[in-house]
Symmetry: C2
Subunit: 97 residues, 2 copies
DNA sequence: ATCGGATATCGACATGCGTCGATATTGACA
DNA sequence: TGTCAATATCGACGCATGTCGATATCCGAT
């Protein structure tokens, strides 16, 4: 794996490398249509609302999820391209030779 | 995915979530027997020897690689259990529902 | 016994990260 | 228009991280 490729993928892994964000991503992916409202995610954590909002922003900035506002609610949806990119990472780098 | 599982896996992802460590892991995996001597890894980076040693320690502490000293040289080898654990993460969490 | 090369550890520095409370913004609805 | 509820942004705090130079450790060879 080249240096540029590593520089590209590392930020996505970094975004995922936090227990809260891992669970958030898992919750989003496991919902119908791979999307979830913030109001569904908040009660699952004993963290403040700004903290969850911050973590969702980190996932969004890394390109792992996309935001959609519907009325007062905001829905986060997994981005399949990003998931696929991570999958190919595992195939190319972490698969046994 | 449960909170405990997230707390278990996040540190492994964190260890991988750095461009230098991603490349180190990739280089180790791509060698015969999935092992590489530090002396083979060092020249690939424009970083000091202590810095590379530090990154290898991070990978080791996360359980991703194991150390073996042979004479003056130290070999790092990928731990298949850890790789498998990460693979199952992708299956269970990031696979499309 | 000593020297030299390979690797690890230490101490320090700047930067980044997770968290919070306080506040701003947005939109539905009376 | 005004209020309330949902979400984001801001500023601050303590702690972790990536990097380095200096030094220690270990081991083979002379």
């Amino acid at each position: 794996m080249g240096a540029e490729q590593a520089e590209t993928i590392a930020p996505m892994l970094k975004a995922l490398a936090d227990p809260v964000r891992l669970r958030l991503m898992s919750m989003v992916m496991s919902r119908e249509g791979a999307e979830a409202c913030v109001c569904e995610l908040l009660p699952a954590f004993e963290l403040s609302q700004p903290t969850i909002s911050h973590h969702l922003k980190v996932l969004h900035d890394a390109g792992l999820v996309e935001r959609e506002k519907r009325g007062v609610w905001v829905y986060y949806r997994a981005r399949p391209e990003a998931i696929a990119a991570l999958g190919s990472l595992f195939d190319s780098v972490l698969a046994p030779a």
